[in-house]
C-alpha cells in the first residue's frame, strides 16, 4: 500500500501569488463524473452518418522496394468505398517539413510509403469500407509487389561501410550529429585522481503505451474546403504546422477537436502522417472517415522512445569521489523517419549535468536511421536517457572505487544554497534541495535497517539490493533550442493560451488551448480561477478538451513537456486577472467608485468599504452582454479575456550551444529495493520510495497521481518493456503478449514523499511535473547491481533488465566487467 510523507517548505509568497483558497487543496476532479459513467467522449466514440472505416495496408518487410501496388481487387470488394496509395499521395501532397539540418533535412517523408517501405508496419496503402471488418478484408486484397532489401536492425550497424542506406535523398544513415562541449575537459582529466572508463551503456527502446491507441474521425467540408479532425493528437499546434504545408492548405483549413484522450505520454504527438491520409481520403471519397489504430499497429509503427547507446565514456573523478566531468558519444536510434527528431539531439541538454556539480562535459551526439518504427517523444523525452546515463555513471564510479553511492551523490549534488544554479551549458535550475530529498527517500525506505534486510533475504536464499535514481523533470521548453539542431529554424520561446469570460447569466467559462490526457486541467484551472475571482470552483465551467474554433490556442498549444502548471495555469491566471480587472472596472462605474475600491468575493463585486454595495457576477455579465445602453463610451470592458502566457526566454547562443532551455526543474529521487533469486535471475521489486519536488502544488492529489503513474511506467521499462527487433527487422514484442506492462500484482508497495521548493520564475511558484519516472528506471538498475555485487560485481549496462539479462549477469559477471576499467588520472 502507498503512504505519504510531506515536508513542507515555507512557501515564499511573492508578487502575483494566488490567495490561499482552492489552490493547494485536493478538490475533487471535474473530469471524473463523466469518466466514471463511461460518458467521456474519446475519438472512437464519435460517429457520423455514412462514415467509412480506414484500414491501412502495412509493410510486412522492414526494408523493401515497392515495385507496384494493385488495389483493383480491393476496389471490387463489396462494401469498399475507396483506396489511397503512395503514388497518389506523392501527387497530392508535399513531403513533411523536416526539422533537421542536412543531411536529415533531405528526407522525403509522406503519409504513405512512396517507392520504398522502411519498417515493418509502415502504412503502404489505405482502404476505406462500410465496416471495420470489410476494410480489413479488402486490405488483404491489395496486392503489393515488394523487393526485400538488406535491413539495419541495430543502430551500431547503420554507419558500417557496407550498410544499406535507408534514404537515398540523405545519402547516409547518419542524419544528424552535433558536438557539445562545455568547460575544460583536458583540465578536468588532468586534475582527476581516477579515470573511470565505460565502453558501452545501452538505453532500451520502449514507450509508455497509452491504453487508447491513435485515431481520428475526419470530415471534409467541400464548401469551405475545411477539414474537421476529431482526434487524440496531443500537440495540435505541431500537427498543424506539419500537415498544412504538406497538404498545401492554410492552417485554418485544419480544425482540430479533442475531448477526452486515453493517455498520451508524448506518444500521440506524431500521428500527423495518418491524419493526412485520413484528410485525403475524406476529400477523395466525399464522406467522413474514421481511423482506429489497433494495439499491434501501434506497437509496430508508432512512437517508440529513443534507443540510445553511450559509447567510450570517460569520467574524471577525485579520490574522494568528487566528479569533475565526463566525455561520451551518444548514438541515438531514430527509427526509419524523423517525425519529431532530431529534437531529441538537443532536448537532453536541458539536464546536461543531471543533478550534479561537474562543470566539464563533452557529448558527441550521433543520430542514425534504422529499419524500425520512428521514434517520438515519450514521457521523459530524451532527458530520461541522459539522466539514466548520468545516474549509471554515479553508481558505476561508486561500485568501482568502493565508495557509497549515497555519499557520492551527496558530495556531488548541486546544493540548495546554490539555487538558482547555472549549469555548464547555461540552463538555470530554479530551485530544489536534492540532498534533503534523498534523506526523505532513504528514511521512507528504512535505509538504516538495510543490513538486517539483506541478512533476512539471504536466509530466504535471495540477494537483496538497494538502488537510487535521481532525476530532473525539466518543464516548459524554450523552443529556441531547436536552433542548436538547425540554425535556420525560426522557433523560440513558448506560449499557451487561455480565455476566461463572464457570461450573460454570470457563468464563468474557461477555454484552454491544451489537450489533457488525464492531467486534470479542468480541475486545476478552476482552482486558480476561483481563487482569483473569489467564487467557488463549481461556478467555474472549464470546457473539456480543445477546439481550434475556440480560438484559444497558439503555435505551441498542446499538452506535452511538463508545462501545464506553468504555461497553462500561467495563461489561466493571466486571463483571469484581466477579467477580474474588467469586473472591478465595470463595478466601479456602476457603483460610482474607483476600481481599487472594489473587491471580488462570494460571487460578487462589492465595495470594500461598504460590502452592502455589491453587484452579483450575474449583474455584471448581464450589463455587458445584454443591457449596455448608457455605459461610458470609453469603458473598455468585454468580460471575455484572452491571455497568451509567454515564459521569459531568450534564444540560446547557437555557437556556444549555450542558454536557458527550460524554465523549471522539478526533481525526483526514487529508491528501489529488489530481491533476486540467484538460481533463476528472476527478481522482484519488494520496496519502493518516491520523493518529488515540483514547487507549489495546486492539487497535491493530482501531483501524487502523476508520481505514482510515472513510477509504474518506470518499473515496467526497467523490468520487461522493450521493443526488441530480430535481424530481419521484425518486432518481437508487437503487442501485450510479449510486451509486458505492469499489472496490479506487479506493483510493489510505494511510499511517496515530497518537499516544496517554489519556482522563483513562475507566476505561482509551480513547476511542470509528471515526467519524473526515469528515476525509477535507474533505481531498479542500481538495486540490481547492488544485489549482484556479491556475485562477481557485474555491471548493469542496460536500462531494461528482464530476467534473462539478470541471469546473464549472474552466470558471466566478467562479460559485463569487461566494459569498465579504472585508470590513474
Amino acid at each position: 500500500m502507498s503512504e505519504t510523507t510531506t515536508v513542507t517548505e515555507p512557501i515564499v509568497v511573492e508578487e502575483g501569488e494566488t490567495r490561499p483558497g482552492f489552490a493547494g487543496q485536493n478538490v475533487p476532479r471535474k473530469e471524473d463524473k463523466r469518466l466514471v459513467q463511461g460518458e467521456g467522449v474519446f475519438f472512437d466514440d464519435v460517429k457520423r452518418h455514412n462514415m467509412g472505416y480506414v484500414h491501412f495496408v502495412r509493410s510486412p518487410y522492414a526494408h523493401a522496394k515497392i515495385r507496384s501496388v494493385d488495389v483493383s481487387k480491393a476496389l471490387e470488394h463489396p462494401g469498399v468505398f475507396g483506396t489511397m496509395t503512395g503514388d497518389e499521395v506523392a501527387l497530392l501532397t508535399d513531403p513533411f517539413f523536416q526539422i533537421s539540418s542536412p543531411p536529415g533535412a533531405h528526407l522525403k517523408d509522406f503519409c504513405l510509403a512512396v517507392g520504398k517501405a522502411r519498417f515493418v508496419g509502415e502504412p503502404v496503402a489505405a482502404v476505406v469500407a462500410s465496416t471495420r471488418e470489410i476494410a480489413r478484408d479488402a486490405s488483404e486484397l491489395v496486392e503489393v509487389d515488394y523487393e526485400p532489401l538488406p535491413v539495419i536492425s541495430d543502430a551500431r550497424e547503420a554507419l558500417g561501410e557496407d550498410a544499406p542506406v535507408l534514404h537515398d535523398d540523405a545519402g547516409t544513415n547518419l542524419t544528424w550529429e552535433g558536438v557539445y562541449e562545455w568547460g575544460d575537459l583536458d583540465q578536468a582529466f588532468a586534475e582527476a585522481d581516477r579515470v573511470v572508463k565505460i565502453s558501452e551503456l545501452h538505453f532500451d527502446r520502449f514507450n509508455s503505451t497509452p491504453l487508447e491507441c491513435n485515431g481520428a474521425l475526419v470530415e471534409f467540408n467541400r464548401g469551405t474546403g475545411q477539414w474537421t479532425i476529431i482526434t487524440n493528437n496531443q500537440f495540435p499546434g505541431f500537427a498543424a504546422i506539419m500537415m498544412g504545408p504538406a497538404m498545401r492548405v492554410g492552417l485554418d483549413k485544419l480544425r482540430f477537436v479533442t475531448q477526452d484522450i486515453g493517455g498520451g505520454f508524448g506518444n500521440k504527438i506524431t500521428s500527423h502522417p495518418q491524419l493526412v491520409a485520413c484528410c485525403l481520403l475524406a476529400r477523395k471519397l466525399k464522406r467522413p472517415v474514421q481511423w482506429t489504430e489497433w494495439r499491434t499497429d501501434f506497437h509496430l509503427s508508432m512512437s517508440h522512445g529513443n534507443e540510445r547507446w553511450f559509447q567510450d565514456t570517460e569520467v574524471a573523478v577525485k579520490e574522494d569521489g568528487t566528479l569533475l566531468g565526463f566525455r561520451t558519444t551518444a548514438l541515438d536510434d531514430a527509427g526509419a523517419w524523423l517525425r519529431y527528431e532530431p529534437l531529441g539531439g538537443v532536448i537532453w541538454a536541458q539536464v546536461t549535468p543531471g543533478m550534479y556539480r561537474w562543470r566539464h562535459i563533452r557529448l558527441d551526439f550521433k543520430q542514425v536511421v534504422t529499419n524500425k518504427a520512428p521514434v517520438s517523444p515519450n514521457r521523459g523525452y530524451s532527458r530520461m536517457q541522459h539522466l539514466w546515463f548520468t545516474e549509471r555513471i554515479i553508481d558505476i564510479v561508486a561500485h568501482e572505487l568502493g565508495l557509497d553511492p549515497v555519499e557520492v551523490r551527496k558530495r556531488n549534488y548541486i546544493k540548495a544554497e546554490e539555487m538558482p544554479y547555472e549549469t555548464p551549458n547555461g540552463c538555470i535550475y530554479d530551485s530544489g534541495d536534492y540532498s534533503k530529498m534523498l534523506d526523505v527517500a532513504l528514511d521512507l525506505i528504512g535505509y538504516d535497517e538495510l543490513d538486517t534486510k539483506r541478512v533476512d533475504a539471504e536466509s530466504r536464499g535471495k540477494l537483496l539490493g538497494l538502488g537510487i535514481g535521481s532525476t530532473l523533470d525539466s518543464g516548459t521548453n524554450n523552443f529556441g533550442q531547436s536552433r542548436l539542431i538547425n540554425p535556420e529554424l525560426q522557433f523560440s520561446g513558448n506560449n499557451e493560451v487561455a480565455t476566461v469570460k463572464l457570461d450573460i447569466f454570470g457563468e464563468i467559462v474557461v477555454t484552454l488551448g491544451t489537450t489533457p490526457q488525464g492531467q486534470s486541467h479542468e480541475t486545476t484551472a478552476s482552482q486558480v480561477v476561483a481563487d482569483i475571482l473569489g467564487c467557488s470552483i463549481d461556478d467555474v465551467n472549464v470546457r473539456a478538451g480543445h477546439d481550434s474554433y475556440w480560438n484559444s490556442h497558439a503555435g505551441f498549444s498542446g499538452t506535452y513537456a511538463s508545462q501545464f502548471a506553468v504555461t497553462g495555469l500561467g495563461a489561466v491566471k493571466g486571463a483571469t486577472d484581466m477579467l477580474a480587472g474588467e469586473m472591478r472596472k465595470l463595478a466601479s462605474v456602476v457603483l460610482g467608485c474607483a476600481p481599487e475600491d472594489i473587491e471580488l468575493a462570494d460571487g460578487q463585486a462589492r465595495m470594500k468599504a461598504n460590502p452592502e454595495a455589491a453587484l452579483p457576477f450575474m449583474a455584471l455579465g448581464a450589463i455587458i452582454n445584454a443591457n449596455n445602453a448608457g455605459l461610458p463610451e470609453d469603458l473598455d470592458v468585454t468580460l471575455n479575456c484572452r491571455y497568451v502566457y509567454r515564459p521569459p526566454f531568450d534564444p540560446p547562443d547557437v555557437e556556444r550551444k549555450y542558454g536557458n532551455l527550460t524554465l523549471t526543474y522539478a526533481a525526483q529521487i526514487h529508491v528501489a529495493v529488489v530481491e533476486i533469486d540467484p538460481e533463476t535471475g528472476v527478481y522482484e521489486v519488494v520496496d519502493y520510495a518516491a520523493v518529488d519536488d515540483c514547487g507549489k502544488r495546486i492539487n497535491p492529489q493530482v501531483v501524487e497521481g502523476q508520481v505514482m503513474g510515472a513510477t509504474a511506467q518506470a518499473l515496467g521499462a526497467a523490468t520487461h518493456e522493450t521493443f526488441t527487433y530480430d535481424e530481419d527487422g521484425n518486432l518481437l514484442t508487437p503487442n501485450f503478449y510479449d510486451y509486458h506492462v505492469p499489472h496490479a500484482l506487479d506493483m510493489p508497495p510505494i511510499a511517496t514523499g515530497n518537499i516544496e521548493s517554489p519556482s522563483p520564475f513562475t507566476s505561482m511558484g509551480t513547476k511542470g511535473m509528471g515526467e519524473g519516472g526515469g528515476a525509477g528506471i535507474h533505481a531498479v538498475c542500481a538495486a540490481l547491481q547492488d544485489a549482484l555485487s556479491s556475485r562477481g560485481k557485474p555491471v548493469v549496462y542496460d536500462s531494461c533488465n528482464p530476467y534473462h539479462r539478470v541471469w546473464e549477469l549472474l552466470s558471466d559477471p566478467e562479460a559485463s566487467r569487461q566494459r569498465v576499467s579504472v585508470e590513474a588520472g
Binding site: 471488418e133 528472476v682 514484442t733 510479449d738 506487479d746 530476467y803
Partner: protein
C-alpha cells in the same frame, strides 16, 4: 482485432456438434475462445466455421468417482474448477488454474480449450501429462481414449483431429503433485513451466520448451536425479525475446526440481 468472415453454429448435443464438424472440414470447435478468438483477431488462423460447444450439457461438469478418479467435462471453466469441492480431490488442478491469466479469462476459458489449443506456454498440457490424465476423444466413428502424453501433437494441434472433439478428461486419484513456473510478471505468460507428480513413480512434464510438453521420469525425487533426467531428455528449447535456448534449458531444470520438491513434500505429508 477484426475477424475474417466465419460461420457460427451452437449445437445442443454432441451428436449435432460432430455433425456440423463433419459437414465443414474447415470447421473448428469453439470452447471458451480465450485463445482461439485472439488467434482469429490476428487472422493468424481463420476457420470457416466455429462450432460453439457452450450449449452442450454433457461436455460440462465435474464428477468424483468412489476410487478418487475425477472426470472433467472439457467445457468446465477454470473458475468452475477452482470453486469445485470435487476437484479438490486433486488439489493441484485448482491451484494451477488459479494462476492462469486473470479473472475474466478464468471465467470464460475452459479446461478442454486450454488442452486443445495446445499453446506451448499453456499451464494445463504439462500438468495433465505429469499427473497421467487420460483424454477421451469422440468422432464420427466413436470414442477413443489416449494418455495425455500422446494427446499433444504440436502447436495448436492435438490428437483430437478434424471432425473430432475432446469429450472427457479423466484424472487418476492422487494428491502429491507440484507445479512451478517462471512467468513474465505475476500470473503472466510462462517463460517455462513444469508440473510434477510423485504418486508412485515420479513424473515431470516440462512446458514451453518445445511444441508439446516433454515428459521426463527421474529415477528419484532428489534434485540431482531430476536435473539429470531433464538434461537427458534432449529438449531443444526455442530461444525468444524472453529467454535464450540455454536460459530456458537452465530454467527447465530449476522449475522441474521445484515442482518435484513440492510434489515430494506432499507425498511425505
Amino acid at each position: 482485432m477484426l475477424l475474417s468472415e466465419v460461420g457460427y453454429a451452437r449445437p445442443a448435443t454432441l451428436e449435432q456438434a460432430l455433425g456440423v464438424l463433419a459437414e465443414h472440414t474447415g470447421g473448428r470447435a469453439l470452447a471458451g475462445g480465450q485463445t482461439l478468438i485472439n488467434v482469429m483477431k490476428a487472422r493468424a488462423a481463420s476457420p470457416d466455421v466455429l462450432v460453439d460447444l457452450s450449449g452442450i450439457p454433457e461436455l460440462k461438469g465435474i464428477e468424483l468417482g468412489p476410487d478418487g478418479t475425477l472426470q472433467l467435462g472439457p467445457m468446465t471453466t477454470y473458475t468452475e474448477l477452482i470453486a469445485s469441492p470435487e476437484a479438490r480431490a486433486r488439489p493441484i488442478l485448482g491451484e494451477v488454474c488459479a494462476q492462469i491469466a486473470d479473472v475474466q479469462v478464468r471465467n470464460r476459458g475452459t479446461i478442454g480449450g486450454n488442452l486443445c489449443s495446445s499453446d506451448p506456454t499453456n499451464h494445463l498440457p504439462p500438468l495433465m501429462v505429469a499427473i497421467g490424465a487420460e483424454l477421451t476423444i469422440t468422432g464420427a466413428d466413436g470414442e477413443r481414449t489416449v494418455p495425455a502424453e500422446e494427446f499433444f501433437l504440436g502447436v495448436y494441434m492435438t490428437a483430437a483431429g478434424p471432425g473430432e472433439l475432446l469429450t472427457k478428461i479423466t484424472i487418476p486419484a492422487g494428491r502429491s503433485d507440484g507445479f512451478a513456473s517462471v512467468p513474465i510478471g505475476v500470473d503472466g505468460t510462462c517463460i517455462v513451466n513444469a508440473a510434477a507428480s510423485a504418486n508412485g513413480e515420479i513424473r515431470v512434464a516440462l512446458g514451453c520448451v518445445g511444441a508439446v510438453p516433454e515428459l521426463v521420469k527421474p529415477a528419484s525425487g532428489e534434485a540431482e536425479a531430476v536435473r539429470e533426467a531433464v538434461r537427458g531428455s534432449g529438449i531443444d528449447p526455442p530461444g525468444d525475446v524472453h529467454a535464450s535456448a540455454d536460459y530456458r534449458r537452465h530454467l527447465a531444470e530449476v522449475v522441474a526440481i521445484r515442482a518435484v520438491e513440492q510434489a515430494s513434500k506432499r507425498a511425505r505429508e
